[in-house]
Symmetry: C2
Subunit: 501 residues, 2 copies
């Protein structure tokens, strides 16, 4: 029996390895498409990618896969890794197999049409072009929830795909607290009369200098250039072909000092997570971050908590001055306040650290209404605009900078947005524990010892890949459940100091 | 019946398309591995590539493939394209299926060991390290020829894989004539006392300037940058992901003006061939050059016949002077003679236009001896060295610059080398016909009208992909059979003028 178990497990791993190979190949093809593909090659590349994902789909939903799942579910005392392998494989399997094949095909066709309509609608800033497609994507998802089933809230089922275990109940509580705290802090900031100067960031910073400094910072953070690359694309992203080949992209604006730098630190955070996952998890499909939210916790931790901290720039600012004489008359304090300037804006991807979560909470509240049948697609733009007015005091002048700004909904990705804000909460919880574990944390950072941060994250989070569910991992790393408390404390402390509140 | 035929043909094309998708994916992965992969990612990439080629192998040797072949072979009056599809598919199928699976597996394992041994042997310049592996690769190929069968000469079977239809009989005749002509011309050149100056090429030419000029020339030749790219790698190569995405690589040496430029023109010739193949050949596996020799005919045509011609530089030299002030005191005539300087050397890849074919003929003569059982692996270095002495008057001082210089044999690629020299013969035959069809050919080139050359090649060769066998295509394009005559005439005329013979 034990012999048989081992043989079956090896066979299962060999099988999963093939899926990983297909995913790796697709990732290389996708990366190349974003980074360097010639114009006329795009459509054929789409065909190749669609073939590969079809092959992956076949493996994930085969009879053989079903047999593996059934066999291992019947086994007792599985170790954590095998348990997670089976759990993941089953989730994937059921997510697809519970939907009638015909409907799934119709969905993927509608998905492509919807994405195209969204692009058109955004370019013309005309919600009416996108509306019928959005309605279809919502209806499909509601229908699918019927097949997948749900416990308390229909929306929970969608949340669970991106952040296993997260529920409306938990989010209502944490996001509710967070919203209150941010709205109140923002109000005090706006009444403070303090306005950090950001003019210093808008000189001419050549691409070459930006690139070299960003890479310098990434290397200090712990990004291993023997296991990854930095390239350019229109929108920054991180992708892993395997954990020894993790690539990020950025976009350089020569009239903006912060954009490429902080996108590299952000994507670098994602990348270091992937690079730290051990080779021993190959063939388990667990050699990746534990969830969207946990991934985002790492990127935002590096970008904001570390990368926008005074300690970090105490170390790096002399190097900035050396490389960029443009800052010769700028004091560290001014620089620090400049990179932390709070300014409510309409576009999520351009938001500052403080208001970012409000963008997410607005989307969360709207998605919840959609799946609770409390709002019609006709009303969405006005609901959207009202919330922006209410929480941030600003209102979109058109749909492009309002309801049409993100592409997520056009592809049917509902339940994805909350991960971004969860990342902030997780990050602050990790920080609290890290401060306890490393009493000299900020002194070490001031000395440029970012390795101490990296090793803590590696030991407590990264090395587990996605063996544990987010809540389990959070508990393992910090001993606590999800809470907004620490992130709120962090924000209050940081911004009170910057804005003399 | 006709309905059934059409349905089966569509089904066959769908099937072949899947093989093409896998090949395209593998090509992207391979390209990335040569152009930009991080150091620690290489071994996993190898696994992914091996998985994809395994999947391709399954499709190429499936029962379904056998059924397609049997069905279409039983059909009468097939059009040229379908006929070629079936011919190719069958050739692939039989090449693999005639070998016992066990032996094929052993071969691929030995192949990897042999390639590694060759690399080691070359680094240490020690043939004895490679010898036992070379012997195995030869023995495997001899055994396989037993399964594949042969008509007149065993070596014919190997030649046919790279250059369908070519035989020892044809090569003995044409290569024999060519060898005599080159050896005699070389002798007269060396006695002429003329020695073109090449010092002008060894100044400091920054990469940026070289890159920009090479791309300028490639665009003029007809390379479409919306269907391709130029990147950097250790050794230059051309690869197509599909005919709308054809990439070349080069290597810049800042102390050498000619190297990157002529490698771009050479690879550009390969690439233009691929870019010109029509989309209508997708799904037939015929959307590629007709043979190794024909491919090489295009690259060498552009590199030497066009790219080292006086007419070409009459047009481009003023641009060289504009971009590279280093040439301000160099006359066009000196430049032209410099890029055509003849100098026998030991290494094939560094050979000039005239002596290049001798390197190939030496390898051809040795391969023939090997498969006629006329030489033992022990004797190969001395046979090699003797031939270099006899044909070019120079002798390798060690194995690295002698018998170990090329990697082809280590992977079992016997019969491949002749294609390189066949390319020269084909090229001169095309030139002869082009001169007839375009009376003002050289005047047009002097005016920078390279499009006239490109369109001739496209109409007469490129657009057919590999629908026709090399000999058929040659006949279609020139009305003649393979001959060394025109290439010999071309060499005599060109080099007599340069060396005042």
């Amino acid at each position: 029996m034990k012999e048989d178990f081992k043989a079956r497990l090896d066979e299962f791993k060999e099988y999963l390895k093939n899926i990983e190979y297909l995913q790796s190949a697709s990732s290389v093809l996708y990366w190349d498409m974003r980074v360097g593909i010639p114009k006329k090659a795009i459509s054929y590349r789409g065909e190749v990618l669609s073939y590969l994902s079809g092959e992956e789909y076949k493996l994930e939903t085969s009879l053989k896969m079903k047999e593996f799942i059934d066999y291992f579910e019947s086994c007792r005392d599985l170790d954590d890794i095998t348990k997670a392998m089976v759990r993941n494989a089953k989730k994937n399997y059921e997510r697809t197999m519970k939907i009638p094949e015909k409907r799934y095909k119709e969905y993927t066709i509608e998905q492509a049409a919807s994405e195209a309509a969204w692009e058109d609608a955004k370019a013309k800033s005309d919600y009416s072009i996108f509306k019928p497609h959005l309605k279809k994507m919502i209806d499909f998802n509601k229908e699918f929830i019927g097949y997948w089933g749900y416990r308390n809230s229909k929306y929970d089922t969608l949340l669970d795909f991106y952040e296993p275990g997260i529920t409306v109940e938990k989010l209502d509580k944490t996001f509710g607290e967070l919203k209150g705290a941010i709205v109140s802090l923002l109000d005090r900031i706006q009444k403070s009369g303090v306005k950090p100067d950001c003019g210093m960031f808008h000189k001419k910073f050549t691409k070459g200098r930006q690139e070299s400094f960003s890479k310098y910072v990434m290397a200090k953070m712990g990004f291993d250039f023997d296991e990854g690359r930095v390239d350019e694309s229109v929108h920054p992203f991180t992708i892993n072909f395997d954990n020894r080949d993790v690539r990020i992209t950025t976009h350089y604006y020569e009239n903006e000092f912060r954009s490429a730098l902080f996108s590299c630190i952000h994507e670098g955070g994602h990348a270091i997570y992937e690079q730290d996952i051990p080779d021993s998890l190959k063939g388990t499909m667990l050699a990746c971050g534990a969830s969207m939210g946990l991934h985002e916790s790492q990127s935002r931790f590096y970008e904001n908590i570390i990368g926008r901290s005074r300690a970090f720039w105490t170390y790096f600012y002399p190097e900035v001055k050396r490389r960029f004489p443009e800052f010769k008359d700028v004091m560290l304090d001014e620089f620090y306040k400049g990179i932390n300037a709070v300014s409510p804006s309409l576009v999520r991807t351009e938001a500052d650290e403080l208001t970012y979560s409000l963008h997410i909470i607005i989307r969360y509240e709207i998605e919840k209404k959609i799946f609770d049948d409390e709002v019609d697609v006709d009303e969405l733009p006005s609901v959207w605009n009202k919330k922006y007015k209410e929480y941030m005091g600003i209102e979109p002048e058109n749909d492009a900078e309002g309801i049409l700004q993100d592409m997520h909904w056009s592809g049917g990705s509902f339940g994805y947005f909350p991960s971004y804000a969860l990342g902030n909460l997780y990050g602050a919880q990790f920080l609290r524990k890290m401060e306890k574990d490393i009493p000299d944390l900020y002194k070490e950072i001031e000395r440029g010892n970012l390795d101490i941060v990296h090793q803590w994250l590696k030991e407590n989070i990264h090395k587990y890949g996605s063996v544990y569910k987010p809540a389990e991992l959070l508990k393992k790393a910090t001993g606590e459940e999800l809470t907004a408390k620490y992130f709120i404390d962090y924000l209050n402390k940081k911004y009170s100091e910057i804005y003399n509140l």
